[in-house]
């Protein structure tokens, strides 16, 4: 009941509704991409290179969003790219949540030396800008879909650790937690049964917003040549490919760029609506 009324609350917000539609579209493209795509995304055709989108002079409805330098259908490639974005966004954030929530819970619950160590570790992570650390790690781990997930997961856990730690610090002093501790519940149980449900709302909201950040980060790494490698297709690497033909065929970069903007905007709007619904306290 409560879940359903919250879902309705999110969908009543215009931004939340738009976001939900965008997310649904991305998921459909990620799951059913090959069936939906009008062409094989890697099929090259030298006769139809640099075809503009259909609404421009020289464009054709056969290739709605035009083609790239190798004559590949951009619409099909954008649909294909949704899969990479989904996998990287979801998997990287899951990894961050797993690592970050665990460390945050431990630090906030036990405080003391463990807290100090974890938080100093967080300081170190924060001293190196996200992209710089991701870049260095990506160099070491090598490019590819799963190493990108690993890189982003390893770099981004700090956000969750800090939020969960701060909330745990205050929740652990509340009466119901004290009661559970006095009653002799084991720390692990207290953390799981009493504290975790209370930090869940913020974690869900932040995780949603973080997914869009990770999609952007993956695109950025791929743009630098450190992320997704062919034959995988990602929006970031598509933008990078389109860079070389900006003056003659700007749409090659603009089409995946637009997909990226719509996707992140949708997820952010959804996350904002979700925050208003679940956890109005956090900014």
């Amino acid at each position: 009941m409560r879940t359903w009324s919250r879902v309705r609350g999110v969908l009543r917000d215009p931004g939340g509704l738009f976001g939900a539609l965008v997310i649904a579209l991305i998921l459909i493209a990620a799951i059913a991409g090959p069936a939906l795509a009008p062409y094989d995304p890697s099929a090259q055709s030298l006769e139809t290179r640099h075809l503009p989108p259909f609404w421009m002079d020289g464009g054709s409805t056969a290739h709605l969003l035009g083609t790239d330098q190798l004559g590949r259908d951009l619409a099909s490639r954008v649909i294909q790219g949704a899969r990479v974005s989904t996998i990287v966004g979801v998997a990287a954030v899951l990894m961050q949540v797993l690592v970050g929530v665990t460390l945050g819970l431990l630090a906030g619950y036990w405080r003391g030396a463990l807290d100090a160590v974890i938080m100093r570790l967080a300081d170190v992570w924060l001293a190196v800008p996200f992209l710089v650390l991701a870049m260095a790690l990506a160099v070491v781990l090598g490019p590819g879909l799963w190493s990108t997930v690993l890189v982003l997961g390893a770099v981004g856990w700090v956000t969750f650790a800090r939020i969960v730690r701060a909330q745990t610090l205050s929740i652990r002093e509340r009466d119901f937690v004290l009661a559970s501790r006095v009653a002799g519940a084991r720390p692990i149980r207290t953390m799981r049964a009493e504290i975790l449900p209370n930090v869940a709302a913020s974690v869900i909201v932040v995780a949603t917003l973080q997914v869009s950040q990770m999609i952007i980060a993956e695109a950025a790494l791929s743009f630098l040549g450190l992320g997704i490698q062919p034959p995988d297709v990602g929006w970031g690497s598509m933008i990078a490919e389109g860079r070389d033909s900006l003056s003659s065929a700007w749409w090659v970069a603009a089409v995946p760029g637009a997909a990226l903007v719509i996707a992140t905007l949708g997820i952010n709007l959804f996350g904002d609506a979700l925050r208003d619904e679940l956890d109005p306290r956090i900014r």
Binding site: A127, P129, A136, R243, G257, V261
Partner: protein, 309 residues
């Protein structure tokens, strides 16, 4: 105050030391640092020779000690690809990157301060919502794509500005705009909520009761107090901007250390990347320490607390 400065400096130094450990350990993550640093076509004999030359056959802590001593004496070793001192190469490119970052910061503040002020003053109005929407859009834009769009419009279409960035007035416009927009949304959001908080303070009401006008209150009371959060915002954004600079420099081929790092990836020049990460971290930590101290100077309460303790 001296104690405060010393304490923060020591804290910063510790963080940097820890960063150096992480950066050092990075090269071991791949299993074989020698393979990481040599071109893919190197022969096993070359790799063995290189390993010995670099001391990779030594125990790890000996290697870290060498690395740390090197870092402290500003010697990261010689770039395998260029044959130059790795640190020197990065340092040479640091100034252009800092110029870009500074220009971007100015862009971000020039846009964020007036918009956040108007939004806070007219809370809930159409303007406020519009500013909120712009901030939301700004946070959703991958800024390398923004850079490319700017390139398409101002260089390819209009031909007003050069495609290659450089630390000159004309060459800085597009890169600074790209990087600045990247930091604008967050700056604007934080500033607006801070201003709103300040505007609800009792002393703002006192000022109004004295007969100070809305604008006067904003400038003389709210802003003065909101400067402190702006400092915090900036210290948070320094890292973001330096990270974003890597992308921006790549998009505009701007000759900064970010571009050098990206080129070094292609050249498998890991020593340069290590030096780059450490220098970026050093800049971030240094600026955070400085801003913390400035914070203490702006807010007499902090100064007072420090004096008391």
């Amino acid at each position: 105050m001296a104690l405060f400065i010393a304490g923060r400096t020591a804290q910063g130094a510790l963080v940097l030391l820890a960063v150096s450990v992480v950066v050092f350990l990075l090269s071991f993550l791949s299993g074989d640092p020698a393979a990481l640093m040599l071109p893919a076509e190197a022969t096993p004999a070359q790799i063995a020779e290189f390993r010995q030359e670099m001391g990779f056959d030594q125990p790890v802590f000996v290697q870290y000690w060498d690395f740390l001593v090197g870092a402290l004496t500003l010697d990261f070793g010689v770039s395998y690809f260029h044959g130059d001192d790795a640190l020197g190469m990065v340092l040479e490119r640091t100034i252009p990157t800092l110029q870009l970052t500074l220009a971007a910061m100015v862009v971000a503040l020039l846009i964020a301060i007036p918009l956040a002020t108007v939004a806070a003053l007219r809370r809930g109005s159409v303007i406020d919502r519009l500013v909120g929407a712009v901030a939301m859009l700004g946070q959703s834009l991958p800024h390398f794509f923004v850079g490319i769009v700017l390139l398409i419009v101002f260089t390819v279409r209009l031909g007003w500005l050069p495609a290659i960035g450089s630390p000159t007035a004309r060459g800085l416009v597009l890169p600074a705009l790209t990087l600045g927009l990247y930091a604008t949304a967050e700056t604007m959001r934080l500033l607006r909520s801070n201003l709103l908080e300040v505007l609800h303070e009792d002393y703002v009401r006192t000022a109004r009761a004295k007969g100070v006008s809305r604008a006067g209150v904003m400038v003389r009371h709210a802003m003065r107090n909101a400067v402190i959060p702006v400092i915090t915002v900036l210290s948070l954004q320094v890292g973001t901007l330096l990270g974003g600079a890597v992308i921006t420099e790549t998009v505009f081929s701007y000759p900064g250390m970010g571009l050098l790092a990206v080129q070094s990836i292609a050249n498998r020049d890991f020593l340069v990347i290590q030096a780059f990460v450490l220098i970026v971290a050093a800049i971030v930590v240094f600026l955070n320490v400085v801003l913390d101290i400035v914070y203490g100077l702006v807010d007499p309460r902090i100064r007072f607390e420090v004096r008391q303790s």
